[in-house]
Amino acid sequence: MSKLIDPREGVRVLLMGNEAIVRGALEAGVNVAAGYPGTPSSEIVQNLADVAGERNLYVEWSVNEKVAMEVAAAASFAKLRSLCAMKQNGVNVASDFLLHLTAAGTRGGMVLVACDDPGALSSVNEGESRHFARMVEVPLLEPGDFQEAKDMTKWAFELSEEIRNLVVLRSVTRMSHASGNVTLGRLSDAQPKAEFKYDGFILDPLEGPVVSAPVPYKHTLQQEKLKRVREIFEGSPFNTYAGPEKPDLLVVTSSACTLYSREAIHVLGVKDRVGLLKLGTTWPLPPELLKRHLASTDRVLIVEEVIPFLEENVKILAAETALEIGAKTFFGKNDGTLPSIGELNPDLVAAAIAKILGIDHVAMPPDYEKKATLMSFAKAPNRELTFCPGCPHRASFWAIHHALLMDNRLGFVCGDIGCYSMAALPCGFSTLKTLHAMGSGAGVASGFGQLHRFGMEQPAMTVCGDSTFFASVMPALVNAIHHRADLTVVVLDNSGTAMTGFQPHPGLKVNAMGGDVPALDIARICAAMGAKVEVRDPFQLEEARGTLIGLLEEKGVKVLIMRQMCALSPEKRAKKKYEVQVDEALCLGETCGCNRLCTRVFRCPGLVWDKERKKARVDEVLCAGCGVCALICPAEAIRKEEVA
């Protein structure tokens, strides 16, 4: 049995932040959950899906985040409790619905879990979801440890029902993916019946139609509820203070920065001088609580990651209450005490506190970083960001990049988000020349595909994954076909949402809960839209390249589906297709005639260059046995043999 449905109340278990959130939702009696995969949020929906049977839930990986939020909203309208989870970029996708949703209000408790990624550890930017709470005027909660992650999630449903609106719970990578001890509470045994009431009076929040009109009335109501939230937050146990009554410096913080700040104060040994106000309810801020603490000192440091959201809100409050609390000196991002990009850590916070207090503190010896880097290089192999051994994307981009060069019109590829984003790097032969949001490659290429009327001769191409195709490429494709854009679309169909861990998508026959569902065929969809469609296996390098060159020359929208399963897919992982070896006698190595094509340019990690022998070699452990490198070797030195 999963520890997430452990019925024993009061026992302590080690949970990952995302698991703690799931446990909190289960204790709250969540009924429906939906999301779209995206690091660091993916485990939430997946863990709920895994216990869907036992807990009688409905859980789905929706086609995209907007739909996920809509699906979860429907459950709330039918008085169930629902949760949707996504990474920050997903909140952007869902934001159109988000504004409508919060203007009209919800019924059953509904929680949006938004996972941000400061430092862009697994993202292409450092987007922020906290602003959305302020923008759409709903409460924002930020857990500061793992226990809180659970408890806050549970409470978020109650709060949502109290104000009949969405509650946003924001996590960050270090909260979602780190683990800590959590004391379990009681699992809910509520068995609500779903029913959507709509016949009531238009202003009735529980039985009228779910609309945002009349706007003046509904909007006023929403703001009044927010005022109510502020009052509730005044007494929230998720806001805590530790430190002297009259500190030399007040640190205001939230989320993962709570842990960094606590450690910094400890390391500096300044707990008698520095007070730590840790906020769990970060929007709207509870004014009385803040006032009380601000009045106790005249120096305030706000510790948070990336954008100064908390800092600005605190400053507004301070300005409004300046007469009561007196003038303050604020430290944080705006004055440069803390960096405005990337993650924070205890060292950065300690350095900031030391600087403000004039303490002589060297967080790290000046050459520490250099030494640490050196040591880690000595111990760990220098691994570049690359596609896995046997990855179909490497083969696809080999074909794409050569096809574009042979076409010889300076064609280029517009990309979007997926493992294949790495094709902007040398591992994908630097093929992507624009890289934006999910589905944006197709949209941007659709725009390029119109520019021939201004003399542009370069052919535009775009790539997308199979999951992305459904999530957001389809509208761009419709646009391109309808407006007669000239564009080649390559769908890298690796049969799963590989980047985030093989979540199913509409192209597959299985759903998040393991159920049987109809698979939608990308080729038939594109053909029905009116595109010319070809399907190829990227491992057949020459054929794939030839097809692409042919498609590039044609006008209109052409789709090439490169179909080959991800090397890490459960089906493939078990077994090598080929046993692959280098015949040293034939290997040309560094000489003119090859110059290490396999290890220098193609660069599958399964191939290694033996510096001593000056020959290429296959690393049996890493090699996935795809056999593709045998096709590129100019000397037929790479031999493949089918494994029986």
Binding site: H402, C592, L597, P634
Partner: protein, 376 residues
């Protein structure tokens, strides 16, 4: 001028990006990095070898012309305008059927077929038409196959790429029909600039060069023809001696396109070429200069014999009755020399216009006596 051998990076900078690539194919099929597609040589991936065969063999990288002349020709045969002349002939294939399938007199096809039949070579590299008027070099092993591939292709055929491939294979003795830039690339290979990696050049036994003024850029050519004929209907084309036009023979009759329309679609690289007579071949063949109607002239070739091997093949053809000959009219050799000299001068002037420096001739050696004779 520096004759240093460099690598692919320099080749790309100085030849490809400078639009000097002739599409000869000498750098193709040596390694995985260059391929020939349509009528272009394409660099697929970067190679960082310091001294590469691609650079060494390319006809558009610097070469020591004097050393090459000394190596291949008898000093007494050399002329500044058209290279070595051991003999000068007007000739054509004796077999009218060969002539029908040929561009002009069929001399080239007949000689290649003869070389194969007599076992002088076992493999002949010729050009053949492919889809949409694109051309490619192919290796054939039988005279009849040579005869099927007569006629001039005014789109580059990357013949040397086909040689490179054949030289790696079982072929023992190879003969090549080649345009001047291709002939020059093969001659550079024969100098073995990188001795350990000689590309099996000793298999090369015979080079028949074609006179050449320019080849056309395929994309521009298809655009030019788009309004006039379907590419599939083209059966051949020619540049009638002395008339400023190009004739396109199609299934629906001949099309005449004024020279002014064709000149801009010639390959950029051809404009700066200083060799119109394939000076480094064993034999060079062009359309005849006999001062008669084009209909008659068309059925003859002029031939420059340059080497012993070339002379031996002509003698053999004469003995076997494979070629027939007529007396060159007085003064035609001088006419040819004057025309070749004019083209050399025009090309050198274009190069200087490009570099803006009369001492910098890009790939041509400024100190070479022939070049000095023309410029100074």
């Amino acid at each position: 001028m520096e004759m240093t051998i460099m690598g692919q990076k320099e080749l790309q900078e100085r030849v490809h990006r400078a639009q000097l690539c002739t599409g000869c194919g000498a750098c193709v099929n040596l390694c995985p990095y260059q391929v020939f597609y349509q009528d272009q040589t394409i660099v697929l991936d970067a190679c960082d070898i310091k001294e590469g065969r691609c650079f060494a063999f390319c006809p558009r990288t610097p070469a020591d012309l004097e050393a090459m002349r000394r190596r291949f020709f008898a000093p007494g045969d050399l002329t500044p305008e058209i290279g070595a002349v051991k003999g000068y002939l007007i000739a054509r294939a004796a077999d009218a059927a060969i002539r029908t399938g040929a561009q002009h007199g069929g001399t080239v096809s007949a000689l290649m077929a003869l070389a194969l039949a007599e076992g002088l070579i076992d493999t002949a590299i010729v050009a053949e038409g492919a889809d949409r008027f694109l051309q490619q070099g192919v290796a054939v092993g039988d005279g009849a196959e040579v005869l099927k591939r007569g006629k001039s292709k005014f789109i580059t055929a990357a013949t040397v790429a086909a040689f490179n491939r054949a030289a790696k294979g079982p072929a023992g003795a190879i003969g090549v029909v080649a345009t001047p830039c291709q002939v020059f690339a093969l001659a550079k290979m024969r100098m073995k600039p990188l001795p350990e990696r000689d590309n099996n050049i000793d298999k090369l036994k015979l080079v028949i060069g074609l006179f050449c003024g320019w080849a056309l850029d395929w994309r521009k050519f298809t655009a030019l023809l788009a309004a006039r004929t379907a590419l599939e209907d083209i059966t051949g084309m020619d540049i009638p001696q002395g008339r400023r036009l190009v004739v396109i023979y199609t299934r629906n009759g001949a099309l005449e396109i004024p020279w002014d329309e064709v000149a801009p679609i010639a390959r950029e690289a051809c404009g700066v070429c200083v060799d119109t007579t394939a000076e480094f071949a064993d034999l060079s063949v062009g359309s005849a200069r006999i001062g008669e109607t084009w209909e008659t002239t068309r059925t003859w070739n002029q031939v420059i014999v340059r080497t012993e091997a070339g002379q031996a093949l002509i003698d053999l053809a004469r003995r076997k009755g494979v070629l027939e000959f007529r007396e060159p009219p007085a003064g035609v050799l001088d006419e040819l020399k004057a025309a070749a000299r004019d083209k050399k001068k025009a090309s050198l002037e274009k190069i200087i216009a490009r570099t803006g420096n009369p001492e910098d001739l890009i790939y041509v050696d400024r100190r070479d006596p022939v070049i000095r004779a023309i410029l100074d």
